[in-house]
């Protein structure tokens, strides 16, 4: 697996090619790209700052990917998460999962995102015209995560 936490941008196309050329029996590559929306809760967002817990972040992400790999028959996984200050429309996160078949690759990719949202130590602060505010965790994210335990 590849897990990176970085300030610089990433190239989703490059990461997808890396994964699909890693094994000749790969039949499916599912990818998620998360972006800074210019609108949140009705307010115009000009920028977003992502803080993280340096010692813990990679470990938490690796543990999430390991869980996905033990639950589903998938091959390689790449997770890249940016930190620092990002502008609206910039890329925040990439999760790419390669596997033999699409069903398991889709599940693993969504599982990783749902767990990342609730277990990986990142925090978002957004700047709107009214000033800066820390984002609150969403109940919908907790719910998205809980369905994997059913």
């Amino acid at each position: 697996m590849t897990v990176r936490v970085q300030t610089q941008d990433f190239d989703a196309g490059f990461e997808i090619s890396q994964l699909r050329s890693a094994r000749k029996d790969t039949g499916a590559v599912v990818s998620f790209v998360g972006l800074v929306r210019d609108l949140n809760e009705g307010d115009q967002v000009s920028q977003l700052t992502l803080e993280h817990y340096p010692g813990m972040t990679e470990k938490a992400l690796e543990a999430i990917v390991s869980q996905a790999q033990s639950r589903w028959n998938i091959f390689e996984v790449t997770v890249i998460h940016r930190v620092g200050t990002l502008q609206a429309t910039e890329q925040i996160v990439l999760v790419t999962v390669a596997g033999a078949h699409r069903g398991e690759a889709f599940k693993a990719c969504e599982f990783i995102m749902d767990y990342l949202k609730t277990e990986a130590p990142f925090w978002k602060k957004e700047r709107t015209q009214a000033g800066e505010r820390w984002l609150d965790a969403k109940n919908t994210d907790d719910a998205a995560r809980e369905r994997w335990n059913k």
Partner: protein, 89 residues
């Protein structure tokens, strides 16, 4: 016992602490030190600390980089962290 404590996001900003080394006399805590006991101990520092750690804000904790619940035991030399529920991705 000596531990390192980190604070993140809203906690860090409001408490104006990002990290500190804490030396705790062994007799402060009746039995094993837990995250909850440590929170209650730190909350005595001031109203702001009380509000941030024992107030309405949901606080999550990690010990040695692993998310744990309030009853997790803390040992000498541990790295403890307090932060709001995560909001990455």
């Amino acid at each position: 016992m000596k531990i390192k404590v980190f604070y993140f996001a809203r906690l860090k900003e409001t408490l104006k602490f990002s990290t500190e080394d804490l030396v705790l006399p062994d007799d402060v805590f009746a039995s094993t030190l837990t995250l909850l006991k440590l929170k209650a101990h730190l909350a005595k520092r001031s109203d702001v600390w009380q509000q941030m750690l024992m107030g309405k804000l949901k606080v999550r904790g990690a010990i040695n980089h692993v998310l744990v619940d309030d009853h997790a035991p803390i040992s000498d030399g541990d790295e403890v962290a307090f932060f709001p529920p995560v909001t990455g991705g």
